[in-house]
């Protein structure tokens, strides 16, 4: 009983993170019912991944920019522009795909550097610079394509958009065994990592999630991954973009949590002045964030172009809005400092499932836009509502008379006022010296 209480209290204190996850599941279930089971058919799951991959890739870069307190409205145009550049390089100039891909990523980096320069070093707000970029790079896309699409692309590049890992059973099995191996291996690695992290937290006396919640959550995610593995394996196997995406999510999550660069990004968004006064080179960090965004936008553009097998003048239109929405639905804060790559992925998936489900139902883009807009508004509104109710979910917890995890406020009065009588000085001196040595 007390374990259940503890878990529920914890859930209430993390209402946002838990809520977004639950929302995704509810939306999936809703459309599963509404579409008579089409949503979770193997082929559709595979489609879902491929269709949303470029938005999710953009959302990775976008959430980083948003964490630093900026925004990027130009990513759709950049993706379109890079598609056009790839078309010219590969189709017109006859470059090999393995030369064109790095060249396109480099062009993306240059585009990002251009915008980063104006934002970081000249000091023009990112909103303005990237609004200008949205126009500039759309214009350059049209100029590069001379207003006509470029097609077709070689198979190797097209595999990036719509290809699958090979079938190692040679067509003898109904399941794609390579996908099963990858899926089961990935799930095992995730389990291992979660348990290890929990151990480390305990070792360093940091608060841990209640055991019941941790077990439920981890088991649920593991089962989910296995189900998706099974669904993919029973269609055509693992889409190549899924591998790219998984690698990016793992790499960027690690970068944001464990690298100096990631930490500085959070510090800048959390309190720019404090970051500056702590010796963080805030301009350099901002500049690099936009270079990174440019590279990711280029990658998204390549994948999109590869999937369509054509570079189109309107390619990438509206991507910026979907990726920004993904970041905010995924819990990023408008004023910066808060957000995670994983959250943005869930936010992106919510948008993706909404798109896909509503398309299956035959809703027109008119209703699709209406509903997506309302979902974004509700998600961020829920955040603000929660914050205004003083201290996140704890107020809701109180309403249900639940015991939350001990709040991080300290109880100052008794111990501190006693200090003069019994100074903690000698102990303090010793341990501090060892820190400084």
């Amino acid at each position: 009983m007390s374990a259940l209480r503890e878990s529920l209290g914890f859930l209430a204190s993390r209402l946002r993170q838990v809520g977004i996850f639950v929302a995704l599941i509810l939306i999936v279930l809703l459309f599963q019912v509404l579409t008579d089971g089409i949503l979770l058919q193997p082929q559709n799951v595979s489609n879902l991944v491929v269709q949303n991959s470029y938005i999710l890739i953009l959302a990775i870069g976008m959430v980083m920019v948003i964490i630093a307190g900026h925004i990027d409205l130009s990513v759709g145009s950049i993706a379109g522009f890079i598609g056009a550049v790839a078309g010219v390089m590969i189709v017109h100039w006859g470059w090999a795909w393995w030369a064109a891909i790095p060249a396109c990523l480099l062009v993306g980096a240059l585009v990002g550097a251009w915008q980063g320069y104006w934002i970081a070093y000249v000091g023009i707000p990112a909103f303005i610079v990237t609004l200008a970029g949205m126009l500039i790079f759309r214009g350059l896309t049209l100029i590069t394509l001379k207003n006509q699409q470029i097609t077709p692309f070689p198979d190797e590049l097209r595999a990036l958009g719509g290809g699958f890992l090979p079938d190692i059973s040679g067509g003898t099995s109904v399941l794609e065994w390579l996908t099963v191996i990858l899926g089961v291996g990935g799930t095992a690695a995730l389990l291992f990592q979660s348990i290890k992290e929990r151990r480390v937290r305990r070792k360093f006396n940091l608060e841990n999630e209640p055991m019941a919640w941790f077990a439920t959550k981890t088991a649920f995610i593991a089962v989910l991954m296995l189900v998706i593995t099974f669904l993919l394996a029973s269609y055509r196997g693992t889409p190549i973009v899924l591998l790219v995406l998984a690698a990016l999510v793992i790499a960027y999550s690690a970068l944001m949590n464990n690298s100096i660069f990631g930490r500085h990004t959070y510090a800048i968004g959390g309190n720019l002045h404090a970051a500056e006064l702590s010796g963080i080179k805030t301009k350099a960090v901002t500049f690099r964030l936009f270079v990174n965004m440019g590279v990711l936008a280029a990658l998204a553009g390549l994948i999109f172009t590869a999937r369509l097998n054509s570079a189109q003048p309107a390619g990438g239109t509206g991507f910026e809005l979907d990726s920004i929405a993904a970041a905010f639905i995924g819990g990023a804060a408008v004023q910066g400092g808060i957000g995670t790559v994983a959250g943005a992925m869930i936010g992106g998936l919510i948008m993706g499932v909404l798109n896909n489900g509503m398309s299956i139902l035959g809703l027109g883009t008119d209703y699709q836009q209406l509903i997506k807009g309302l979902v974004l508004l509700l998600a961020v509104g829920f955040d603000i509502f929660n914050k205004n109710r003083a201290g996140g979910g704890s107020s809701i917890a109180k309403r249900f008379k639940l015991r939350t995890t001990p709040p991080a406020t300290e109880t100052k009065a008794p111990a501190e006022t006693k200090a003069p009588a019994e100074p903690a000085a000698p102990v303090a001196a010793g341990s501090r010296q060892s820190d400084n040595s």
Partner: protein, 509 residues
């Protein structure tokens, strides 16, 4: 002649945990200039906010009589209706609107909702003439100097038919010429029957304009000195302002002072926006190994400005002067450079400049020295937690764990996180700006103990503080600043609150 216009009786104002005002009495006569004097944080501004209705009448105790009638103001507009106008230190002008628009802001000369521009500009011209400001009323506010903006504020007050004008540190942001002009204007208005209350601790100004001085100390009114009784003298005012009880305890220490670590020479800093103002003039000072040096000064003396301009030019413009460390000149023109040379600056404004309040304790502690915890750009999270846990223990940071969010900690514990951050950067010189501001007494002692230990470890420590007893309790040597000049250097053996206050209010030669 001495007809009272304002009587405040038994004013007591309590904030959560603090008695800001305690049984304060204030008597102001009609047609006089009445100065209110006191140290930083004595309660002067709070008293004026009580009077002008910023704090509604039911949030404090005591009675206010204005022109022999009781006042129960619920807001500023109530007090303005009675002719009491307050001009705050931070001017409340809209930079893109014209002078005339600002004067009549919220009070527009209009008929049926449409502004009468002819009348607005005409009336504004008349008011500008009264305050001696020769400017076109359609000029945008941002195009005139701060001194002139101050005059516009007064013109705005006159437009409301002011009877009692309250000026909160009116000359704090002005250069000398503008200050003189402003003081002349106050005397001129006095001739026209306007009573003024002026909050100031510049003793030369007070001697120039004040007919009476009320001294506030620690939220209590100490005494009222009157010119016609020959009571307004520098000695009397200083004696009234200091004399605070030594209510805190300080840790015992035996200073082991070594060679000079940091020396600042001929340091001059201009105000970042107002180029006519020099905020720090040719300041020179030094600090030695194992020494705690205090910087004393009243509001606007330039202490924080001096410290921040040395720490990576984070304040001011046209900074000139030299910084030497161990006798060698060093470059501290960016924060990373300053940190690299072993300088740390812990800000007076923890919430805005010191901490990332939405982040946890360990990430705040590691913020200034992440490379020490990293290999090839990757942070070792376990090492970070170990370091943070070490500081949590040694500094006695009270929190459930180092993963607790700093925004939820008390002021004392937040300050310990800031100090931990800078100690982890392993500096040779620590500049601590108001290290005990907003901290309760028990935590103050802990901070003093930490400072003493830092000195014992051979660090050079500079402490900026507005609390003289605190400086006297922890420093080995104290510099005083007044209006951007270093006006004194006092060894602790010769220092007392009176001597320090004497230097802190000293005029430049």
């Amino acid at each position: 002649m001495n007809v009272p216009i304002l009587q405040m009786r038994g004013i007591t104002k309590t904030f959560p945990g603090v008695k800001a005002l305690q049984d304060v009495t204030l008597d102001v006569n009609r047609g006089e200039v009445h100065a209110i004097c006191g140290e930083n944080g004595a309660g002067k501004s709070t008293l004026m906010k009580v009077l002008s209705g910023v704090y509604a009448h039911n949030t404090f105790e005591g009675d206010i009589l204005f022109e022999n009638e009781p006042c129960d103001f619920a807001s500023i507009s109530d007090s303005e209706k009675r002719g009491i106008v307050i001009i705050h230190q931070e001017l409340a002008l809209s930079p893109y609107l014209s002078i005339a628009e600002n004067i009549f802001l919220g009070n527009e000369l209009a008929s049926r909702g449409w502004v009468d521009w002819r009348k607005t500009n005409l009336e504004a011209s008349k008011l500008l003439a009264r305050v001696g400001l020769d400017e076109n009323p359609v000029t945008p506010i941002q195009h005139i100097s701060v001194g002139k903006q101050q005059l516009v504020e007064i013109a705005k007050a006159l437009s409301k038919e002011v009877k009692l004008l309250i000026l909160d540190e009116p000359t704090a942001a002005l250069n000398d010429e503008d200050s003189d002009h402003l003081l002349d204007l106050i005397l001129h208005l006095k001739g026209q029957g306007v009573t003024s209350i002026i909050i100031s601790h510049k003793l030369n100004e007070i001697r120039k304009v004040a007919d009476a001085v009320t001294i506030i100390r620690d939220g209590k009114s100490i005494e009222t000195l009157r010119l016609d009784q020959g009571q307004i003298t520098q000695e009397r005012i200083i004696r009234g302002m200091v004399g605070r009880d030594l209510d805190s305890l300080y840790p015992e220490r035996e200073p082991q002072i070594g060679e000079e670590v940091l020396r600042i020479e001929d340091w001059t800093v201009q105000h970042p926006q107002d180029h006519t103002r020099t905020v720090v003039h040719n300041a020179s000072l030094n600090v030695r190994k194992g020494e705690v040096v205090g910087l004393a000064g009243l509001m606007g003396a330039g202490r924080t400005e001096l410290a921040m301009s040395v720490f990576g030019r984070t304040y001011g413009r046209a900074v000139s002067g030299k910084v030497f460390k161990h006798g060698k000149e060093i470059n501290t023109s960016t924060v990373p450079e300053a940190i690299r040379h072993g300088i740390a600056y812990a800000t007076e404004d923890r919430k805005h400049y010191g901490l990332n309040l939405i982040e946890d304790i360990k990430r705040n502690i590691s913020m200034a020295a992440l490379p020490k915890l990293s290999k090839r750009g990757w942070v070792d999270g376990n090492k970070e937690t170990t370091v943070a846990n070490g500081y949590r223990k040694s500094m006695n940071i009270k929190a459930p764990s180092v993963a607790a969010i700093t925004g939820k900690l008390s002021g004392g514990n937040q300050q310990k996180v800031v100090l931990s951050k800078w100690m982890f950067s392993d500096p040779d010189v620590l500049i601590l700006d108001e290290p005990t501001r907003g901290i309760d007494v028990g935590a103050k002692f802990e901070i003093y103990t930490i400072i003493a230990e830092l000195a014992a470890q051979g660090k050079a420590v500079i402490v900026i503080s507005s609390e003289l007893p605190e400086l006297l309790g922890i420093c080995d040597r104290i510099y005083t600043l007044s209006a951007g000049h270093v006006t004194g250097e006092v060894p602790i053996a010769e220092a007392s609150q009176e001597t320090l206050m004497h230097y802190m209010t000293k005029e430049k030669e």
